[in-house]
Symmetry: C2
Subunit: 452 residues, 2 copies
Amino acid sequence: MLLQSRLRASAVHMAQRRAAGGCCCCCSRAPLNEDNARFCLLAGLIFLYLLCGAAIFSALEHPFEIRARILWRQQLENFTRRYRVNLGALHTLLRQYEQANGAGIRVDALRPRWDFSGAFYFVATVVSTIGFGMATPATIAGKIFLIFYGLIGCAATILFFNLFLERIITMLAYIMRWCHERRLRCGGAGVMSSREESSGEEDSLEGWKPSVYYVMLILGLASVVIACSASTLYSSMENWSYVDSLYFCFVAFSTIGFGDLVSSQRERYESQGAYRLGNCLFILMGVCCIYSLFNVISIIIKQTLNWILGKLVCSGKRKLCSCPCLRSKSQSKRAPAAQRRVKRNAVQPVSTQRPVGRRHHTDGSVETVCDSETDAGAGAEVHLGRRLSGEMISVNEFMVSNKVSLALLQKQLSETAHQGPRQSYGHQNGFSGGVGALGIMNNRLQETSVDR
Amino acid sequence: MLLQSRLRASAVHMAQRRAAGGCCCCCSRAPLNEDNARFCLLAGLIFLYLLCGAAIFSALEHPFEIRARILWRQQLENFTRRYRVNLGALHTLLRQYEQANGAGIRVDALRPRWDFSGAFYFVATVVSTIGFGMATPATIAGKIFLIFYGLIGCAATILFFNLFLERIITMLAYIMRWCHERRLRCGGAGVMSSREESSGEEDSLEGWKPSVYYVMLILGLASVVIACSASTLYSSMENWSYVDSLYFCFVAFSTIGFGDLVSSQRERYESQGAYRLGNCLFILMGVCCIYSLFNVISIIIKQTLNWILGKLVCSGKRKLCSCPCLRSKSQSKRAPAAQRRVKRNAVQPVSTQRPVGRRHHTDGSVETVCDSETDAGAGAEVHLGRRLSGEMISVNEFMVSNKVSLALLQKQLSETAHQGPRQSYGHQNGFSGGVGALGIMNNRLQETSVDR
């Protein structure tokens, strides 16, 4: 009964999505399709974000820059007056010192840059794209070699980060599921019969969702823990303030790597081997963790973009063409298949790029539409009152409520699969999992939300 | 006829994949499943790569470091002898100069660091994670703000890069398809009848594939063109040598950003506004292009990993358990469904992480297996004589040859879709598209290879 009502609810929801998806296109037949619109919106927002950031940093740092400039002028003046040094000669010396700096030489002795351990630290900052710049190749051979070395190294590290992301998301999703099931079992006194199919899932549906926010929270906490531990280590070993250490951790873990603060650069440390190992491990863990965190945050940004796009399109065009997403609740559900197909073809995210003169399969268009519908729902979020949760939560609800028909479909598919075209599933929903790291999250969390 | 033979060939191929996939598990029931093994193999190889890189850079740069050290000592000695300056006082001055350097002060006047345009350049290097470090926040407020600012900014930029990657891959795939079709039409004198279904595709199959290597080639060429154009600009504006300019381009575009060379730092340039704009555009284009290139290369690395894994597993275990991948040609094809199902369950990449006491749907296991089979084929490459092309090429062949049954399947699916559970496709092949950027490539190229 409840399952049936859910099935109906989700069908309504689906129709809304479809209608809303169609809305974007039937309202505005501009050359910008949904994907391009999202891309441009993001580019615009990043540009705005940069402008705001520039203004704030300028306000924060400009006074200090002026003070530092005045201070340096005074110091230089004092020195030349006291030792009667020609200012030109001193400038020459300082230029020479700058060049020496480039080769890694400082007044206070630092560890050698290009012994094996130093070079190892250097290549690690290259392939991770941190690039502190505490050591840089000065020879032409070194510079040319760096280009080819970095090309392979950075690609391999990107693959490493992506595989790490996949592993960590899998692990988190299963841990979250396990915790939730444990909690359910303790609360519900272990119902193991077929009743669980509806009651257990009903509880799950209300109480727990494999939400991207949880994943973000866990990764955020992990990052904070790693950064705080690392900062404790750095502030004691490097004599940095705790804020400086935290700042260094963020700059290193996010692979920005300014190089104003670089760990493990002095000639001698207490228990040097252990510190160097700890430094490497902290940076490795931190980079992996922050990379994953960035990707999770980027999902939320994508959802926000979709929400903004949906709002923009539907509010802007409401008066022009009595937007279907407003009628969807009552009408779209019962819309004839032919009409629906027209709408779905209209959503094709790649349609503008199709060269003229190519045949279009009606079947072929299905999978491209899957994208715009499962893909965080410019449509799903348009529906008023629906919270900004997007993909995973709604997918979860959806999967759970459609368990029965899903099982049928899976059986069908697995039967067809035995005859051969198994990759066709991959084609069938070319984009349903989202893009990049988003694909990983969706797939992992979708999986978690169904095969319970 | 030809189509039928292809169908059979691909069925054999599929069976080989399945069997080889099963091989990995039935031979070695270690806690490491395929995904984990790939991850560990990659980590190991990166570590080796780092060791080699460290050795080479150490050999290249160490002599220069020693010479630079000697040179600086001489320069310092000359200065102190000539002007009779106390060495301690000079060291103090140099330390002060280092601090001033941190605030962006040099002997030769540079552009202000924290006016609006300077701050904009700074935040752009933050969100892109280039992090030259030519300007770094010196105040505590600036450092703390940077952490929060970078967290959102870097995540948004990662999303931007991923969306760009998606756009560029779509574009490339369609351009490649279009070129190929044009070529076919010119050669084949425009056959537009239903015959094209077999003959045209037969030609495509032999002559053209939406290969990852082509994509890499195009992106590589684009990167080279951008880097060379940018280098021409930089070498004329900054008075760098051409090699230095190329080196700077790579370091900037790959977001390593050492900061030893930074463009647009002098106080005055000829046609300054145009140069700054050009600098920004070149860096933006370069970063996007190299990011895409890295991701394409990372696919090839993943294929190589799968190939190595397949080799390792099957050659290592051949004597222990008469590996099924050697029998697959004749046997696996006709293996009973039950036996096959056991194997496929065994390949589940997430099976080791499943908590105990959870129910397993036999259907639910299908989609996880799709991963290990379509996912670049540790199995596909095991088969001797098959070239190291992996995913896309074999997927393409597969899609083309299975066109008929695919169309049927698609119709089935689209019919079911109208009843509701459309996301189930996403679930059905949770991982078939690969991970991260790999997913994008696979999906885009799969799409290109079918809906012709």
